[in-house]
Symmetry: C2
Subunit: 147 residues, 2 copies
C-alpha cells in the first residue's frame, strides 16, 4: 500500500486556553498523562499521542495570529524520521495545492517542523522529533524505553 | 496503564466544502483512499482512519449549525465495541465537565453515536460502529478482512 505510510497521524495537539483546566478535564474523564513538561501535557493513545498545549503557543508555533485559530483549534502532525522526509512531504503538499503556513525549520524543542493548511484550512504539521521513535507506520509510543 | 484504552483516536473526520476538491488534494499529496462511499472518503492511517466528509453533513451529524464549525473544522472520534461503553464514556465526559452536543443515539449509518465538546470546544464523537473491528487499544484497520 504505497500511500499508507504517508497517511499517518503521529500527534494531535489540542489548543487550550487554560492548560490546567484542560488537564483537569481529561484526567476527570479518566485519562492518564504520560508526560507533562512545561506548558504541554502528553497522553499516550493508540499509536498516536494527544497533547494539550496553550492556544497562544500553538498559534506562535504555526506562525499564525491566535485569532485565526478559533475555538476548538487543533493540529494534526505527521512525524518522519529524517529532515529530508519532512522536506519532501512539505514540497509534495505545496505541489498538491496546500497553503504554506511555516516553512520547515529547526524548532526550539530540538526538532525540525513546518506547517501547511489543506484547501479547507485543516492544519498539518510535518515534523522530525529526534526524541521520538517511530514504527514503520509512523506511530509512536512514549512509553517505549528507546523513546 | 488504566487510562490508555480510553485515550484513543479511531477516526479523524475533516469537514470539507467540496469533497472532490479535498480528495484530489490528498491524492495529489500521495494518499490512497481505502474506501469511498457516497459523500465520504476514508484513508487508512496508522491504526486510525482519516475521513473527508462534507462540512454541512458534519454539522448535521454533530447537531450544530454549520456556521459554528468554522474553517478547518474536524472531529476526533473514539470508537468502542458496545453501546454500553459509549454510554459510559459519554456520561463520564459530562461528569468531567464536557458540553453535550448530541446525546448518543442510533445513527443513520447503522451504528450508535454521540458528540461532546471539551472545555475548549474540541469536539469528540463517541461511537460504536458494528462494521468496524477494534483492537484492544481502540485502533481500527479497514483492510482487516473481518472489518
Amino acid at each position: 500500500m504505497p500511500g499508507g505510510r504517508k497517511q499517518r497521524v503521529t500527534l494531535v495537539t489540542l489548543g487550550v486556553a487554560d492548560l490546567e483546566r484542560a488537564r483537569q478535564f481529561y484526567e476527570a474523564w479518566g485519562w492518564v498523562p504520560e508526560e507533562a513538561n512545561e506548558g504541554i501535557v502528553f497522553f499516550q493513545g493508540n499509536g498516536l499521542v494527544i497533547a494539550l498545549f496553550g492556544l497562544e503557543e500553538l498559534a506562535e508555533d504555526q506562525a499564525r495570529p491566535e485569532a485565526t485559530l478559533g475555538f476548538g483549534a487543533m493540529t494534526l502532525a505527521q512525524n518522519y524520521g529524517t529532515i529530508a522526509e519532512v522536506d519532501e512531504r512539505f514540497r509534495a503538499a505545496l505541489a498538491a495545492g496546500a497553503t504554506m503556513l511555516k516553512r520547515p525549520q529547526e524548532a526550539s524543542w530540538g526538532g525540525y517542523s513546518g506547517y501547511i493548511a489543506d484547501p479547507d484550512g485543516h492544519v498539518w504539521e510535518l515534523a522530525m522529533n529526534p526524541y521520538w521513535t517511530l514504527d514503520e507506520w509512523g506511530s509512536t509510543d512514549l512509553r517505549d524505553p528507546a523513546a
